[in-house]
Amino acid sequence: MLPKKVKKRASLLAITLLVSAIGIFFILQSLNKNILYFKSPTDIKNNQNINFDKKIRVGGMVKKNSLIIKEEEIKFIITDFNNELNISFSGTVPNLFSEEKGVVAEGKLQDKTFFIADRILAKHDENYMPPELKDMMKKNAK
């Protein structure tokens, strides 16, 4: 069998690891809301006490056919397929910003359905493919 010293060291390390893993689990659990990089429209709808003066980030998909580009202002609707939020923004958007793509907007809520953003970040998905393949997929879909 193993020597007593080895057993002692092993159990010491196991206890340390277990305790710190449980500790970190609880810390992450309590921080859960703060770790989220952005809120979804559903979160905002369900949240009772929203601070309208504080800057927050909201994220979701840009709804199809909702993007309106006027002079100096871009308006669109983000959706998480349950709830929606109107966004207004003036400024430059990243290259990947388009309809039916993920987006994160930073700014202030005016009310529960209207959000004024002062920064737009594009969120891209995990799909990578050559452009020819995408064209083919589009044709097949039609």
Partner: protein, 235 residues
């Protein structure tokens, strides 16, 4: 049994492997880079900026894998006190730190054209920075604490604690909403990356692994020389 690294046979073998890797490394690097930068197609959405992925993703994998190795070997070392494991973990650590920093820097450069920002404190990026800190503390302990037994003890505990961070990094994109996209390559199920882009990615990964092996062996050799020198002084 543990006298084997006083044996010059091991030394000759390390020397041979280093020479072998040196002879093929640049050919492989150039072919992998040409696949990654020239022959692979651009992405349908991101265009040519997707090519940063061929460095970013392997660097992140190696950063994570190195720390997993260090963590597991450190636990074994803490329990069974095997001198050789100390040398191995000490040789892996600088490599892991370098690749973790490389992943963070390339990710930041990639973030600007795609997301529209260099930096975001989302769960994946923050946990990756914490990993870099763990590497840093691990290396600093070995550099600063001159009493070797103490250094091994503290660094092993740090490495074991850092091991908890690894699954957090891996699953951060699934547990929390992050700006970083979820993993494209899955161990189970189909990958969401096209084969014409997956091939250069795996090629770059194997080249960088080879680079790691090269640097690791060099560092390992130096550490053995250092130990031999110390023993000679004592005599």
């Amino acid at each position: 049994m543990f006298n084997f690294f006083y044996n010059s046979n091991l030394f000759i073998w390390i020397e041979k492997i280093i020479n072998f890797i040196n002879s093929i490394f640049f050919v492989l690097l150039i072919s992998a880079l040409s696949f990654a930068l020239i022959f692979s197609p651009p992405d349908y959405l991101q265009g040519d900026s997707v090519r940063i992925m061929y460095v970013h993703v392997p660097a992140a994998w190696i950063g994570l894998a190195s720390f997993s190795c260090i963590g597991i070997l450190s636990i074994l070392n803490f329990i069974f006190k095997i001198k050789n494991l100390t040398i191995i973990t000490k040789s892996i650590a600088p490599l892991g730190l370098m690749f973790t920093c490389l992943a963070i820097v390339t990710g930041s450069i990639w973030g600007q054209p795609t997301w529209g920002t260099f930096w975001a404190w989302d769960a994946r990026i923050t946990s990756m920075v914490i990993l870099a800190f763990f590497y840093f503390i691990y290396i600093a302990i070995h550099k600063l604490i001159s009493d070797e037994d103490k250094a091994i003890k503290f660094s092993s505990i740090i490495a074991a604690l850092g091991l908890i961070n690894i699954p957090i990094i891996k699953f951060s994109v699934e547990w929390w909403s992050t700006l970083h996209q979820p993993a494209s390559i899955k161990i189970t199920g189909t990958s969401t990356i096209h084969s014409s882009m997956l091939m250069p990615l795996l090629l770059m990964f194997s080249v960088l692994i080879l680079y790691c092996a090269l640097i690791f062996l060099m560092k390992y050799k130096t550490e053995i020389i250092r130990i031999k020198k110390k023993n000679l002084k004592r005599l």
